[in-house]
């Protein structure tokens, strides 16, 4: 339901056969992705992903301001949204 509303799906095919930027045209990277068995190995790990309705693993991590957050403490009290992100 919500997956259909993804931003990338709203973008119509444009120039460069829908790639939108020449930055995506990295041939060497594409070959590396195709040939590297370690990268194929990553995808075999996908069955571990918790699907909707299943128990979410406990998160107990340090925050940048020196604190610590454990999601077990939120159980029964609050919902939470966990995003992942990076600089690049």
């Amino acid at each position: 339901m919500a997956v259909e509303r993804n931003h990338y799906q709203r973008i119509p095919p444009g120039p460069l056969f829908g790639l939108w930027s020449w930055r995506y045209l990295d041939l060497l990277k594409m070959i590396r992705l195709r040939l590297n068995p370690r990268i194929h190995g990553f995808y075999t790990k996908f069955p571990t992903i918790p699907p909707p309705g299943s128990k979410f693993p406990e998160v107990d991590l340090e925050t940048v301001d020196g604190g610590r957050i454990n999601t077990k403490a939120l159980q029964g009290r609050r919902h939470f949204v966990l995003l992942t992100g990076a600089l690049t």
Binding site: R10, P50, V81, L83, T84
Partner: protein, 134 residues
């Protein structure tokens, strides 16, 4: 996401960002960023991320071996909405604020129908984004 965190704070929703691996380190456009060499290095980058985007939501830092991130799918822009029972209510491989707003509105309204929440986020009108009708 900061806006959503503010909107749903008093309805019992917490928003966390988990800083994970750098997916495009040393690639075109990101030459100045290296892969994490130690946990301190990772923490340093996480602090930089918080500073760069002036983040208010808590930023968690995963371990150097990315143990949790591997379990969750190892993608750089994952999102999980977890309910009070500790079960996954919604997950997506891409962070889409519109969709998350809709899901959270549904979740908190179902919990307390006397205080319904409407979806307000509409990123189609964000300046700079190409306005496209589905």
């Amino acid at each position: 996401m900061e806006e959503l965190a503010r909107k749903y704070k008093d309805r019992g929703v917490e928003v966390f960002l988990m800083y994970v691996r750098e997916p495009h380190a040393k690639e075109r456009g990101f030459r100045q960023y290296r892969k994490h060499e130690s946990y301190d290095h990772k923490m340093e980058y996480a602090k930089l991320l918080v500073k760069k985007h002036s983040l208010v939501i808590p930023c968690l830092v995963d371990s150097l071996d990315e143990k949790l991130h591997q379990i969750l799918g190892n993608l750089p822009n994952l999102v999980y909405v977890v309910d009070k029972k500790g079960e996954v209510f919604y997950k997506n491989t891409w962070t889409d604020a519109d969709a998350i707003d809709e899901i959270l509105a549904e979740l908190v309204t179902a919990e307390d129908p006397s205080r319904p929440v409407q979806k307000t986020m509409d990123s189609r009108h964000v300046p700079g984004r190409i306005p496209v009708e589905v």
